[in-house]
Symmetry: none
Subunit: 127 residues, 4 copies
DNA sequence: GTGGTCTAGACCACT
DNA sequence: GTGGTCTAGACCACA
């Protein structure tokens, strides 16, 4: 299944980062499966109306992370995820993300309770 | 009460942004009170070992946002926060932070439940 | 349509403020339209013979005020002004300007009538 | 008759300038008459809760403009205004003030008409 | 190419 | 002493 890529210029998040996140999200949720082929760099660049280098940078970074595999002359594919991260690593990653966002929220005066409530409201409507 | 400013050069967050966040946090948590004087730009610059302009930039941005008030030749002070952000604005801000947090976490395959659990574990032990 | 930027070093008004005012004026009068790209910071700096940082400072302040939007690596653009200042804010701004104008004029012994007359003489011949 | 000095820290106008303007205004409106004695620098500084140098600077500048006269050991007085400015000079001064404020107003998108209307509303309630 | 951040150091205005 | 502005020049991140 293809991804319906969408870029938000106002988010402040760099385009290449948004592309990375959406591909990772696709893999995590099963929209993209092992071995599946991705759009060519050129095709995706045209579709998203961004520079070729921007898509290229996103693919390159995902390759480094072993999420994608490039076959010269054939295309780019979702990697075989035998490169699973360990449970501990996984927990550390989550902790890191939480810490960062808590500190940002705190700087605007939000409490942990408020953040949890906000998240709970989204538990239902999530795809 | 003074703030114990700390800069993390490795975080990738610009220095002036870190200063802004720490002051906002101080105001939000009550460490800094209305009318209180902040360190002089020069003093803080020396303390943090950054350039005067960097501190100045942070103070200036907070002044535009009505968080600080400066009086040339006198100093910089916590503003009279009658210019509180509206409840609606506040809610939008929180929603924005949560959305970004969610999308990044999701791209690594974490569920909302996992994220809420991670946050709940911090409700007690927060400084 | 481009702006014919001009800086007056003798005015006492900081350079970055003059740049801000001219852009605001351009937006207000329709010389600059939504989405239009502004000169690059470097180009404008060269044109005005000021430092890059000076232009940057002006652009940044206008970005905070939602007058401009910048996209790293792409350029700086006139923002979508759905964030129009409210009518009330606008009226307050005008009142503030008038009050200052009045108090200065009055301190030199001019009456309101004289000031109104002076302004009326300019209603026709304004560019 | 004494002046009821008032300083507004938020106006952005320097304190010494506010003092100058209020004295000039007093002279222009007849609240202060030729030969009348002003508060001592020290007294006014205490009254306004500002630094001695600030009042001192204001008096000094008014002396230069011949609005005040200082008699060593006696005090500061309203000068004998035989130093009247010519009609032409007066007109030029007014024109200068008008030009400056028009340009500021214009940068916020206000028209001359709006400024005139705003001024007209104050014709009645002026002391 | 674009904008963003930072430094070192200067000079000015205000209190 | 305070904050404000500006320069010259460097390096980084993004498209």
């Amino acid at each position: 299944m293809m991804i319906d890529f969408k870029l938000d210029p106002k988010s402040g998040v760099p385009f290449y980062r948004q592309i990375i996140d959406q591909i990772r999200y696709g893999v995590a949720t099963g929209s993209l499966n092992v071995g599946e082929q991705l759009p060519t760099v050129r095709a995706l660049a045209v579709q998203l109306k961004v520079n070729l280098n921007t898509v290229s940078k996103a693919y390159r970074e995902l390759e480094i992370q072993k999420v994608l595999e490039t076959q010269q002359g054939t295309g780019t594919f979702i990697g075989s995820l035998d490169v699973q991260i360990s449970l501990e690593e996984r927990q550390n990653k989550l902790a890191g993300i939480c810490t960062e966002y808590l500190s940002i929220a705190a700087s605007y005066g939000f409490s942990i309770d408020e953040m949890i409530n906000e998240l709970k409201q989204r538990q239902g409507g999530d795809k």
